[in-house]
Symmetry: C2
Subunit: 245 residues, 2 copies
DNA sequence: CGGACAATTGAAGCCGGTCAAAACTGGTGG
DNA sequence: CCACCAGTTTTGACCGGCTTCAATTGTCCG
């Protein structure tokens, strides 16, 4: 399980959807597309909106999230370079069930629905790649739900820091070097906790020498420890209240 | 959103995967299959196992869940009559990321991997039906995650009771008649809480006249109230601590 | 240099988890 | 038909992890 999640691949599996296509197919998709530069914080689409196409991230980072009526934001995925987004609603033939917005300045190509469908119809490769990607995403969601239900904030934070590090640190020079840029609020919404709780937990990790952090940067110092803290096996031995008087 | 989730269709969308296929395709799938009778509580497959085919539920109910190392069980979906299970891992080309077991005595057909793949290759319909189903499942997971993060046990319980009622009560005679059979433990694991907490919340609903229950049966008495309690809009007005002294 | 926003720290209290034990159920055999 | 056991449901008590509210510090820019 651990090996599965943290397997050495520099890129995670879901990222590979687009890469699996032939060059011809990639061009057929991107050809009709319109590339646009998004500033940090711009919305790509909104929960409840009508899907009119999909998006290809040439550079940048996009968060997928859902907003609650009270203004809260639940982030459940971060998309990076080379990933496609927005195809779920299109495939499911329904309205967007989530929103997407850039976290940093990004360059993104919009692929109109018709063009996407055309390639989809003519290419078994795309169809299969999508099935594979969606099948895989399923296991990610399972894990995500299980984590939310059974893990503490500390464990979830450690886990997310690991994922962020693996996904967004191309600088593979050293196990120890890794920087993560993400506002406290975003990180809290990704981990699924209040930002105050998040901050306190970060402090604690720093005090324990597991991470280092400046105002906007988090760096994993002790990789082994943070893997241990993430407790991927779920063996968490709750300090039992058994003082046996 | 509410209308979307609770739309009048007697069956929920995901159930319809198999139904979308032509009769020929259905037969091509089930033809080579082997039907087997499972007693309540039997496992179909286990987290970490190698997928060798998919399952079609002729009758009965199957829970999809994940076990934690400590023995806990996280249920995230209940499959009913006419549904397919186990295709995610096959499509994603990986090991099962979840387990499946019957909740009541069930009649289930096993479709070997090769036969499934054969039909998948030759039929654009199945391929498209799968894409649609998976795309839709995505939105269910989003909702599930959001619910876990932002809703109280009371709200989640109300929501799940509604879903159970809609999905497993073919007896459409009356809005009020509805029986749900599920052990307290299973229900707790479905809602995502401890069974003691669940029991207390059930008591409370009963005391408030929203539901009725005997030892193993739960019946929704006041449908409007329970919809309200589920708080599908997320407008939960937390009793603000503002006593303004 | 102030104004806005993000990050941090402090304090209080509730929700829900855990442990423990009682009440209830159904099934079994004497 | 009753006594008994095993499993499930229910009730009680406790308390700790998180959320929430509030206030302070830090930081980036115009």
């Amino acid at each position: 399980m651990i090996t599965k999640i943290l397997s050495g691949n520099s890129r995670l599996k879901t990222d590979q959807l687009f890469e699996q296509l032939t060059v011809q197919e990639q061009e057929a998709l991107l050809g009709p597309g319109v590339t646009h530069v998004y500033k940090k914080g711009e919305m790509l689409f909104r929960d409840g909106g009508i899907p009119t196409g999909i998006y290809y991230i040439r550079s940048g980072v996009v968060k997928k999230f859902k907003t609650t009526a009270k203004g809260g934001e639940q982030i459940f995925y971060l998309c990076g370079e080379g990933e496609l987004i927005g195809y779920h609603a299109l495939l499911g033939e329904e309205l967007y069930s989530d929103s997407a917005a850039t976290i940093i300045d990004s360059q993104i190509t919009f692929i109109p629905k018709d063009d996407f469908v055309k390639v989809l119809r003519s290419s078994a490769t795309l169809s299969n790649a999508l099935l594979k990607a969606l099948g895989h995403e399923f296991s990610l969601f399972i894990n995500s739900i299980t984590n939310l239900r059974t893990k503490s904030v500390r464990e979830r934070l450690a886990f997310n820091l690991l994922l962020l590090d693996m996904k967004f640190n191309s600088s593979k020079q050293s196990d120890i070097a890794s920087d993560i840029q993400l506002s406290r609020t975003d990180l809290a919404n990704l981990v699924g906790t209040a930002k105050e709780t998040l901050v306190r937990q970060l402090q604690e990790f720093k005090r324990e020498g597991i991470i280092d952090k400046t105002d906007k940067t988090i760096r994993i110092v002790d990789r082994k420890r943070i893997i241990k803290e993430a407790n991927l096996l779920g063996l968490n031995q709750k300090k039992s209240r058994s003082n046996i008087p």
